[in-house]
Symmetry: C2
Subunit: 224 residues, 2 copies
């Protein structure tokens, strides 16, 4: 049987790279990354490494002109400092990029329609729900209905948004990645633009905690 075609949004972080390894076995995968002017462009190199390791096509879309427009988020506006500490804190709202997942999914859907793929995949997980409205199950459902409506007659009628970690914790992702032998050292989480993971920002704090909770050794080199 032919494998179903799937366009996976892969940033190069540990969630999306793990998803790519997870889907690679039984899908005809294409990886899609976006450069939206984030400080942590290093993650794009990690997405390329994952595509090379899995021997699948990888496209990088340049949305830097969009990033410049969207001031107010610390991920794209260098005048807003990156907050430290746990994601639960109100200050982490500063890491919200307006409408990000809708944009990413719409790029993936456009490519899926152009290629005749019947799936797009996103690595949103349950730990994201509290902060990011576009990581909730309700959003994934609303998006899928909208995309089917937007492309009726051109999109595969069985079009599906695949979100394998939608109800899973980040620790669960580490356990899955360990099972699929994901080279975690070749994934990037830190929102600062340094050479090593800073170890202090929200995603670093979350990354460290996930390895601890999963009882899996953390291969990441942290600054502290």
């Amino acid at each position: 049987m032919r494998k179903p075609k799937c366009v996976a949004i892969v940033s190069g972080g540990m969630d999306s790279v793990t998803m790519a390894y997870f889907l690679a076995a039984d899908h005809d995968l294409t990886l899609l990354s976006v450069d939206y002017g984030q400080r942590h462009v290093r993650e794009l190199d990690c997405a390329a490494k994952a595509a090379a390791a899995l021997a699948v096509p990888h496209h990088v879309v340049d949305l830097t002109s969009v990033g410049r427009l969207l001031t107010g988020s610390s991920l794209t506006d260098r005048s807003v400092p990156v907050p430290e500490g746990h994601y639960e804190d109100e200050t982490m709202r500063a890491t919200v990029v307006p409408n990000r997942n809708a944009l990413l999914l719409d790029l993936a859907t456009a490519l899926a329609v152009a290629q005749g793929a019947q799936m797009v995949a996103t690595a949103v997980h349950a730990g994201d729900h509290a902060i990011y409205p576009d990581c909730r199950p309700a959003f994934i459902g609303a998006y899928q209905m909208m995309a089917l409506c937007a492309n009726e007659g051109f999109i595969d009628p069985a079009f599906t948004v695949v979100a394998p970690f939608l109800y899973r914790s980040k620790a669960h992702i580490v356990v899955e990645g360990d099972r699929y032998r994901v080279p975690f050292a070749d994934t990037w989480s830190c929102y600062q633009g340094g050479d090593k993971h800073c170890g202090r920002c929200g995603t670093c704090t979350e990354r460290r905690g996930a390895f601890v909770d999963a009882f899996v050794p953390d291969p990441t080199a942290y600054e502290e």
Copy 2:
């Protein structure tokens, strides 16, 4: 009373420029254009002229790297010829850019959230429905629900997708534009990349017919 903030998607065609003139009086407008690698980049100059005439901000987002990915549409893939004749023809399906309006609305919504605007505006009209699934009322409704869900807590709860011509014909747009003194000669429709409107392609055929149906003189210089 303060005017509501509105981000209007303006390509530089006669529909979207007319919409900008129509909304300018009672909205705090920002115009948003997208360069997605279309042959008819000349329309972007027309969008800039409209912004200058209305004295409102104008942003152009560069999506050319997305356009390159989406082969198969004659608007972005120079190996696919632009079809001629009426839009009803099956061949006009070649002018569909996958998922275009969802992508455009996503950019407008992202900017609306960043700016605290409560509206985004699109100039889709009833004549588009037969060919483009993402110009139908059902899509506009599905998009609005998705966008509210995607940005809950960050977006204005009264967020609305404004589509003033959703149930109107292109001839009606000409009548409205005439009322608002839109300089139609400074709007661009032709899908070919020439110096003048070709007069033969789908949009030129439609443009010509709209002026005839509206009993408004057509100021466009056509090649034939």
